[in-house]
């Protein structure tokens, strides 16, 4: 019942949008019509860009970058967080550096990234990395330090060496928090990628919406936003499912 009411309110919203953008705005002035094309125009743009393959190639370019950037951030972040958490002396040394750099949002690195890497994949991946890595490092660090003391003690009295305990006890114990860090990092990385593509790319969904804006193809801007949101949503869902499946033991 609740579901239907919510679907109804969404349909009502789309209808209002269609009525305003399809009839009210064009009757005022052609300029106003370019500001907000109706949903039907967005669907039309979708069909056009699907036919000429633009939307697929731009989505593929963005996904390619996020996969590489995220994988690098995950590898570096988990490694750094684990080392910092398991060897407290290193943690105390490195933690301030993380705390100094973290407040600089990934978007603020974009111009420097452009200077270093030029326009294209390398710059975009660099920015994704910067967006994703901090949540992963911090969650891994917190997770490793938060593993129950008695579990480590028990492993020690069972004859576990330090690295054995790290692999068998500490990392699995920190795994729920590591996954949370990965999920947050993926979201931040995706956001950072869009920003990076707006400024410094010649392909990808961020480039698509900025390029379409220059050409006043507002329906393509809206379409690009929808696809960005949809892909972001799907990636988050995948991470949530992974979280539920992989750490079922953590649920009470």
């Amino acid at each position: 019942m609740r579901r239907w009411r919510r679907l109804l309110s969404l349909l009502a919203l789309l209808s209002i949008w269609q009525a305003v953008a399809g009839y009210v705005l064009p009757s005022r002035s052609p300029d106003a019509a370019t500001l907000l094309p109706p949903p039907t125009a967005v669907v039309g743009a979708f069909i056009d860009l699907l036919k000429n393959g633009v939307i697929l190639s731009d989505a593929a370019a963005s996904l390619h970058r996020i996969v590489i950037g995220f994988a690098l951030a995950a590898a570096a972040g988990i490694l750094a967080g684990a080392v910092m958490g398991w060897w407290p002396a290193i943690g105390r040394l490195v933690d301030p550096l993380v705390e100094f750099l973290r407040p600089i949002p990934p978007m603020a690195w974009i111009p420097l990234g452009l200077l270093w890497f030029g326009i294209g994949d390398a710059q975009n991946i660099f920015i994704i990395f910067l967006g994703a890595v901090y949540p992963i490092v911090i969650n891994t660090y917190t997770g490793v330090r938060g593993v129950e003391r008695t579990l480590v003690w028990a492993a020690q009295t069972l004859g576990g060496r330090r690295w054995q305990i790290l692999c068998e006890i500490v990392l699995p114990g920190a795994f729920p928090l590591i996954l949370t860090g990965l999920r947050i990092g993926l979201g931040v990385g995706w956001m950072a990628l869009v920003a990076a593509e707006l400024v410094g790319a010649s392909s990808g969904l961020g480039f698509l919406i900025e390029d379409s804006r220059n050409l006043l193809f507002t329906e393509r801007v809206l379409l690009g936003m929808v696809v960005i949101g949809l892909l972001g949503f799907l990636m988050d869902q995948v991470m949530r499912v992974a979280q539920r499946r992989l750490v079922a033991w953590a649920e009470r």
Partner: protein, 268 residues
């Protein structure tokens, strides 16, 4: 021939205001082959701390623990420990938990599974090999933890209030099973040494050869009581005159210390 000597062990912690928090006074204790020794004492007397020092998980502030003629310098699989909180990683099944120590020591997988199965059967957990800890009752979890420690075949078994978190009925059953597994009916040469920390005087009398009574903080040994209760022991032992007499005596020793501990807690 294993032996354990605790020589002049003390433990204190440095507090933030520069003062010392004394947890353990000066403790001396020797445990012979095949002996089951319990430590009772009021909360905060440092008995758990003492056990962790023997395990090598904590360093004493003074003195030393000598095991088999060698000073303890860190944890070892020859000194196995069972914890009150079970300490079972929740992502490992019963079988994986019992195999853990063997895995650490590099026993090949096939042999590992065989040994683990033997100990799972010994503690009565057959049929639960592939269950996760959260699917088990408190008593079953502690059986699993015991099997895990025994699978390593340690010379010394350290038990830190292992049955404190299970209900009273299960607790008595677990005590009897522990004695059976340990070998109350065997000659001392064929038993393991056990150092068992508990709150419960009854538990200490039922299980052990000697009962060590500790004072309130900083903990020192107030009395070492040689338990006259004959072995093998069974349910009836709990109501025998010898048992009741021992209990009266130990409670007399412990009560004043417990009162002191309570007033200490109020001051803190």
């Amino acid at each position: 021939m294993a032996s354990l000597d605790i020589n002049d062990v003390t433990k204190f912690y440095a507090l933030r205001d520069g003062q010392r928090f004394e947890a353990l006074g000066c403790v001396n204790l020797s445990i012979g082959e095949g002996e089951f020794v319990s430590i009772v004492g009021p909360s905060g007397c440092g008995k758990s701390s003492l056990l962790r020092i023997v395990a090598g998980l904590e360093e004493p502030s003074g003195g030393e623990v000598v095991f088999d003629g060698i000073a303890v310098a860190g944890p070892s699989s020859r000194r196995g420990m069972v914890f009150q909180e079970y300490a079972l990683p929740p992502w490992k099944t019963v079988a994986q938990n019992v195999e853990l120590g063997l895995k650490f020591r590099g026993v090949p997988p096939k042999e590992r599974a065989q040994i683990a199965q033997r100990y799972i059967t010994l503690v009565g957990l057959q049929g639960f090999e592939h269950r996760y800890p959260r699917e088990l009752s408190g008593g079953m979890r502690q059986r699993c933890a015991l099997a895990r420690t025994l699978a390593n075949d340690p010379d010394l078994l350290l038990m830190d209030e292992p049955f404190a978190a299970v209900d009273a009925q299960t607790r008595e059953i677990l005590q009897e099973e522990l004695l059976k597994i340990w070998g109350g009916h065997l000659t001392p040469q064929r038993r393991k040494m056990v150092l068992f920390v508990t709150h419960s005087i009854d538990e200490a009398i039922f299980l052990s050869d000697r009962v060590v009574v500790m004072s309130s903080r900083p903990g020192i040994i107030k009395e070492v009581f040689t338990n006259p209760l004959p072995r093998p022991r069974a349910d009836e032992s709990r109501s025998s005159p010898v048992f009741l007499e021992a209990r009266d005596h130990l409670w007399g020793q412990l009560k004043s210390e417990t009162l002191k501990a309570i007033s200490q807690a109020v001051e803190d």
